[in-house]
Symmetry: C2
Subunit: 234 residues, 2 copies
DNA sequence: GACTCACTAGAGTATATACTCTAATAATAG
DNA sequence: CTATTATTAGAGTATATACTCTAGTGAGTC
């Protein structure tokens, strides 16, 4: 593997594990057992490394969120989108952690990320539209769909920070992909009221698969029986 | 004013404006025209300053989110809670920006913040309960209410980051409290499907007050007529 | 007037950080 | 084989950062 690619790979790994703020270019070089000079031969600066990693991330998510326009959407599609988005979030998890700082220090990144967000929002909105076309959720007026899509985005992008800052995670305990994917439970919670009668059961069952195992909120006290109870009000 | 308090005030101000990561203890001292030594006489280190600021923040939010248990809740109460929470978020906005790093570097803060989050989640959940008692929203099973409360929290705490990273905000343009409060629109969006017939109109009118003025998502194209249209599907 | 004590100045320091420079070595093209 | 180019090592550097240390000052107290 090319040194350049090794640098990108190691950087991503170290950033994810210890946070971009805690990883210097010297750390990266040391981790690869190459010299700082070598690293700076391949990249002008640290920002450049981060920018390239972002491009990979962007490419991945854009690939996942390519909505087929020639056929209706299925529940399997929805599952795929959700799983994929959280996979992506996991693989590049350092990125959202220091997002604001990163965007402040790199103009290109700032601009690109803005467009990226808009594409994601548009994709989410399109998914809602197609879910309605497929009779999985009720159709929503444009304005509501936009606001809903934005809420989905906010929940998705903040779920990891919530886990890391508020959840059981004592020192030493580190986040797992499985825990991260419980975010899908939260996203599906947003959709519950809009489900059609035809699909309600199936989506609720899907959601159940991602239910967090640990109690996660101060007043979630039962946790055992809920499975039949939770449909009560629909 | 005591030097100690001036340090806290200036720190908060500088952190909010330029980000904790970009502000050193020397910056703070220089801004106050005092010596670094003086600053370190009053605080052991930078973490201590941040911790004290957090304690103020915590106190403020705890004060705002004190739910009265001796009377039913009103729509005015709800408005107050929402406005207050966003006011608090605004006044201590640096905090959520570098949250993960801050918690990683200070054990006390980590622990305290976890409890703080849980109190907030419990308060949100309690508000939902009382909204149902008051006939403003339909009652929800515990499990759904918890998940909903968590989504509300995720939307609230991520809204600012969204504005800063994805919104119009070019360089130079800086965030305003007014824009921040448009997050209330997003929070109320979450509650729409649960509103009772009695209150739907009133809550929708309230929500309308916080509607963002700018188009905020890729597919929100109309923006002019929506006011009558948006109730179509309810 | 001696003493205490909260408070302050300002120089200084150890370390980290991002990055540069020079020189050397491998790889490749003609 | 030679010339060029790509790659690497490793020492070095300017600056920043968080923090320490010493030497006070000034207001009150007995």
């Amino acid at each position: 593997m090319k040194t350049r690619d090794k640098i990108l790979l190691s950087s991503l790994e170290l950033f994810n594990e210890r946070g971009e703020r805690n990883i210097t270019t010297n750390h990266i070089a040391a981790h690869l057992a190459i010299s700082p000079g070598n690293l700076y031969y391949h990249f002008r600066n640290k920002s450049d490394i981060i920018y390239e990693i972002f491009l990979e991330y962007e490419k991945l998510v854009d690939f996942y969120l390519d909505i087929p326009e020639d056929r209706p959407i299925t529940l399997e599609d929805l599952t795929f989108y959700l799983e994929s988005v959280f996979d992506g979030l996991w693989s590049y998890r350092f990125f959202h952690r220091d997002l604001e700082y990163l965007l402040d220090s790199d103009r290109r990144l700032r601009q690109d990320y803005r467009e990226f967000t808009n594409r994601c929002l548009a994709a989410i909105s399109r998914i809602f539209e197609k879910l309605a076309d497929a009779g999985i959720i009720q159709p929503q007026p444009d304005e509501l769909r936009s606001a809903m899509s934005l809420n989905v985005w906010l929940v998705i992008t903040n779920w990891m920070a919530f886990l890391k800052t508020a959840h059981a995670l004592e020192e030493s305990t580190s986040l797992t992909l499985k825990e991260l994917k419980q975010g899908i439970y939260q996203v599906l919670t947003l959709e519950i009221p809009y489900l059609t009668a035809d699909y309600r059961e199936r989506v609720m069952a899907l959601r159940e698969k991602y239910r967090p195992s640990l109690p996660e909120s101060a007043d979630a006290s039962d946790g055992a029986s809920g499975k039949d109870e939770k449909l009560r009000n629909f």
